[in-house]
């Protein structure tokens, strides 16, 4: 008798799952008190700005005019953006900046995590030193590298001249062709430690037993890495790469302080361009429209991110 009623119970559970949500929320109303402060702050400082940006993107704000006297222009701002030459140059820069920074930061960080996984004397010190660039302020990093790249007194130029590889110090950040790669080197310098920390944490969760089992089964070091370690790290790798990609997409300080987007827009990426439009030229409407386009791109990325994560969870959860 109990078995039969148990089954009926389960069926009923499925049917009424949806209508339960509201009642559950009511039953748990006290629990919300714990998260209310967090959610309230998030709503004010994140939701409202998003709304306001979207609204502003449909208005024109001529310089010198008060913001509240904005003029409705429909999709004109979007049209202006998509037809401007700067847009495509900046987009191209952003793509190179994001892809190269993300790829090299992740590759170097992952490799460093692997190389530091084996214990040796001084490992802790080495790991700590490698993390420092991530901790110090991007403003300080920008100045340090600006000085290193200095066209007259920079140390890299001096070393190249000293070694006879160049007759005079090259212009790293004052030249259209080298400025973007030079800034990417700085960005990687600051970001690979993040990938290293994440992957170090990930490596610690690889079950030792599996590695031993693989070894007993005759797998060599590379095979063990490829068949055991790497699949185990797929989840944390996905998260790390996406977080890096989003952070790089949103970079501002390094190009802003080091070059201000120059020379001739060669190091302008989306965010610096938006900032200049808004705060340099008071073109709030266009800047907002840019921001909305950015939302859309980032939300698409985010969608794949969530899907990748939940896909993994489903696979893991089945076990």
């Amino acid at each position: 008798m109990t078995i039969v009623s148990g089954k009926a119970e389960a069926r009923r559970t499925l049917q009424s799952a949806r209508s339960d949500v509201l009642r559950k929320m009511w039953e748990h109303r006290a629990d919300y008190a714990y998260v209310l402060p967090a959610i309230a702050v998030m709503l004010i400082v994140i939701a409202y700005p998003i709304y306001y940006t979207i609204e502003l993107s449909f208005f024109n704000t001529p310089p010198g005019l008060q913001l509240r006297d904005k003029i409705f222009v429909g999709f004109n701002n979007y049209g202006a953006i998509l037809t401007s030459g700067v847009f495509w140059q900046v987009t191209f820069n952003t793509l190179i900046w994001t892809v190269a920074s993300t790829f090299f930061s992740f590759a170097l960080g992952f490799a460093a995590a692997l190389a530091l996984h084996r214990d040796f004397i001084g490992r802790g010190v080495l790991r700590a030193i490698l993390i420092i660039p991530w901790v110090i302020s991007a403003v300080a990093a920008s100045y340090i590298w600006k000085w290193i790249y200095h066209s007259d007194f920079g140390i890299i130029g001096a070393v190249l001249v000293e070694l006879g590889w160049a007759s005079r110090p090259p212009n790293f950040i004052d030249s259209v062709s080298t400025v973007l790669p030079s800034l990417i080197v700085v960005n990687i310098w600051r970001e690979f430690p993040f990938a290293m920390i994440m992957m170090t944490a990930g490596l610690q969760t690889v079950p030792e037993q599996l590695l031993r089992a693989a070894k007993v089964d005759g797998a060599n070091a590379w095979q063990r890495f490829w068949h055991v370690t790497f699949p185990h790290l797929r989840n944390v790798s996905t998260v790390t790469i996406l977080l890096l990609a989003v952070a790089n997409f949103n970079s501002f300080i390094i190009p802003w302080i080091m070059t201000g987007g120059g020379p001739s827009n060669a190091s302008h990426i989306w965010i610096t361009h938006i900032y200049e439009l808004a705060f340099g030229r008071q073109r709030w409407g266009v800047a907002s429209a840019y921001s909305v386009l950015l939302f859309i791109i980032l939300m698409t990325l985010g969608y794949f991110y969530v899907r990748a994560l939940s896909g993994n969870e489903r696979k893991d959860g089945g076990a």
């Binding site: 559950k24 929320m25 748990h28 919300y32 998260v35 402060p37 967090a38 702050v41 998030m42 400082v45 994140i46 409202y48 700005p49 998003i50 940006t53 502003l56 490799a111 692997l114 190389a115 996984h117 214990d119 080495l126 700590a128 993390i131 420092i132 660039p133 901790v135 110090i136 302020s137 403003v139 300080a140 100045y143 340090i144 000085w147 290193i148 007194f153 140390i155 001096a158 001249v161 000293e162 310098w189 920390i197 994440m198 944490a201 990930g202 969760t205 590695l211 998260v239 949103n250 300080i253 938006i274 900032y275 808004a278 705060f279 921001s291 939302f295 980032l298 939300m299 985010g302 969530v306």
Partner: protein, 296 residues
């Protein structure tokens, strides 16, 4: 079988027995990474102890001929206008970062605990909040937040920065802490409640001490984030006496473009607090990531 177990030391890594090519490759790579990481910082230090004249030479003095602490003395001298500014910026940064850190912990701890312990609808919101925070660049929020801050009268106050930093640090803080609470058996609290503690006492006396590493990690993260933040400080603050270090330094050296020893000394001193803090507490940070974010 016996040979296998002999060649695997009890150590943490079975990769210890990789062929030598891998090992030497790994070492060479680490040397390269060490140089890449450390040389810029070493050059910053060497430059900071040169005189302005010595720094501007070609070929450069690889090692300063006449090392001097003049730049540091200037920055730390309260009698001198440069020193006054620098010390004030430093103090401002300290206040903003400390306030952000304390508030982050106060808000994040109960929220993380609730997300871990209670099964109310909407828990997954947290996950998306983390995502959202990372998705949207600071620039997007600048204008509306500026207007918002003006409406609530916080423009040109440190409060505007604290509020902003708080929201941007919160999602990750909650996420990290939630991982910690997930790993603390709920039976510990139940035992405490049966032993005579209220729910609150059980939390404070039993759970809080166990989650201390997570709280410390959260605090470091908030502090470093606030200490290094630039864009909002750059936009929200205009009065010289309120500037935080990153903005202050930038503003100062846009007027003194050739004082590279001074700039390097200032960069160094700006980095010291966060680097020291991080190095002291980094093991908590990695642990928090492992337990909170990665195992997840």
């Amino acid at each position: 079988m016996s040979t296998v177990s002999e060649t695997i030391p009890r150590g943490r890594s079975a990769r210890r027995v990789r062929i030598d090519g891998w090992r030497w490759g790994g070492r060479a790579f680490l040397v390269f990474m060490l140089l890449y990481t450390a040389l810029p910082m070493i050059w910053m230090l060497l430059t900071s102890i040169k005189s302005g004249f010595a720094a501007m030479q070609f070929p450069p003095q690889w090692w300063p001929d006449q090392p001097t602490l003049a730049s540091y003395q200037k920055l730390l001298d309260p009698q001198n206008s440069v020193g006054q500014d620098f010390l004030r910026f430093f103090w401002n940064s300290l206040i903003v970062s400390t306030a952000t850190t304390i508030l982050s912990v106060i808000v994040a701890v109960p929220a993380a605990y609730a997300f871990s312990r209670f099964t109310f609808p909407g828990r997954n919101f947290l996950f998306f909040a983390v995502l959202l925070r990372n998705m949207f660049p600071a620039v997007i929020f600048l204008v509306p937040l500026f207007i918002l801050m003006r409406a609530i009268g916080l423009v040109n106050t440190h409060g505007s920065l604290v509020l902003t930093y708080l929201t941007f640090g919160l999602p990750l803080a909650i996420w990290l802490l939630k991982g910690f609470y997930d790993n603390i058996p709920v039976q510990l609290e139940q035992a405490a409640r049966i032993d005579g503690a209220t729910r609150f006492q059980a939390f404070v006396l039993i759970v809080m001490p166990l989650s201390a590493p997570g709280i410390i990690a959260t605090a470091i993260y908030s502090f470093i984030g606030a200490w290094n933040e630039y864009i909002y400080a750059y936009t929200f603050l205009s009065k010289n006496e309120q500037l935080t270090l990153p903005v202050g330094i930038q503003r100062f050296f846009s007027e003194n473009t050739t004082d590279f020893p001074g700039l390097m000394a200032a960069s160094f001193m700006m980095s010291v607090p966060v680097v020291v803090l991080f190095l002291l507490l980094q093991r908590y940070f990695v642990r928090a990531l492992t337990e909170g974010a990665v195992k997840h």
